[in-house]
């Protein structure tokens, strides 16, 4: 157990944290009935993926040198951050519109388009 304190931090550590974030985001998206809760799940998923990009591009982690992403990983994660900001803006606008029209944010009530 003390091995984790003395051994150098590797790629696996980051991938595990990213996997936990990703899975909690997916579960959050699946279980929340509040539309804003679903949005928070999306943010968690994007951040888990982002963490993996940064970890694969990092020079400070012990890992197999064939997975060398370099600075490209950091630039891709910057793109992901910008896209997440854009997505959050549009999704919040849609949620606010839905709230103004229906007086609820429950995604289960948004079934008017059901065939």
């Amino acid at each position: 157990m003390t091995e984790i304190l003395t051994s150098p931090v590797g790629l696996t550590h980051y991938l595990v944290v990213g996997a936990v974030m990703f899975v909690s985001g997916v579960v959050c998206m699946a279980t929340k009935r509040n539309a804003l809760g679903v949005l928070m799940g999306i943010e968690l998923v994007l951040n888990g993926a982002n963490l993996n990009f940064v970890a694969f591009g990092s020079n400070f982690l012990e890992r197999n040198p064939t997975y060398q992403l370099g600075l490209d990983g950091q630039i891709i994660s910057l793109f992901v951050i910008v896209l997440a900001a854009a997505e959050a803006a549009v999704a919040l606008a849609i949620v606010l519109n839905f709230y103004n029209n229906h007086l609820t944010v429950d995604v289960d009530r948004a079934d008017e388009l059901r065939g």
Binding site: L5, T6, S7, P8, V9, L11, T12, H13, V17, G18, A19, V20, M21, F22, V23, S24, G25, V26, V27, T31, K32, R33, N34, L36, G37, G41, E43, L44, N47, N50, L51, N59, F60, E62, R63, N64, Y67, Q68, L71, Q74, I75, L78, F79, I81, V82, L83, A84, A85, A86, E87, A88, A89, V90, L92, A93, V95, L96, N97, T104, V105
Partner: protein, 203 residues
């Protein structure tokens, strides 16, 4: 057993914080608390970015994500936080299905993480700390990354970064269009009801 690794201690601190607050987002049913836990989780993630040597990305994570996107999200929470929606309960069956899906996904992802993240070869793993220190001392790239990232975004390919001018321009236009569209979608429409009143019907 070697000496305690400071990098590992900091990683454990931020990693455990990230995982705990991500799980807290899932298991909390109050949407205001979920937003707060999400802010803490993403701030801890920026600590992980700093630890991985990505100083610019970590700073942008703090400035854009925690400072921008999540403030937007908190505004959304505040605007819609009526009493019946603050804590919407999920049905028990949904929790079971979601736990199964999440567990399966985690069971798939964790072994992949351990496979992909293996140290280079068995030989160097058996070589012990001397080899590792030799490896880690040959690549101390502690140069700030902001300059190289900026040059990469301007389309100047460096030694470990390719040119990203076209994606940068595309994403800039995309962000502009999206923000204009969001402002259009979320604008107050009360003027329409004013126009419908009898006095101003012919406007």
């Amino acid at each position: 057993m070697g000496e305690i690794n400071g990098h590992a201690i900091l990683f454990l601190f931020f990693g455990i914080l990230t995982c705990l607050f991500s799980l807290a987002v899932v298991f909390s049913s109050n949407v205001v608390r979920m937003a707060f836990y999400l802010i803490l989780a993403l701030a801890a993630t920026s600590g992980l970015h700093f630890l991985a040597g990505a100083d610019f990305v970590g700073a942008m994570q703090l400035v854009l994500y925690v400072g921008g996107t999540l403030v937007l999200l908190v505004f959304g929470v505040m605007l819609t936080a009526q009493n019946p929606f603050i804590s919407l309960r999920t049905a028990g069956g949904d929790w079971v299905v979601a736990a199964m899906v999440g567990g399966i996904l985690l069971v798939i992802l964790i072994p992949v993480a351990f496979q992909v993240g293996l140290p280079p070869t068995e030989a160097s793993q058996l070589g012990g700390r001397a080899d590792r220190e030799a490896v880690t001392s040959t690549d101390p790239v502690s140069v700030p990354t902001a300059t190289r990232i900026g040059l990469g975004l301007l389309g100047v390919p460096g030694d470990d970064v390719s040119g990203y001018l076209l994606p940068f321009e595309i994403i800039s236009i995309h962000l502009l269009v999206v923000l204009v569209g969001a402002a259009y979608l979320a604008r107050a429409k009360r003027r329409v009801t004013v126009r419908d009143t009898p006095g101003t019907a012919d406007v």
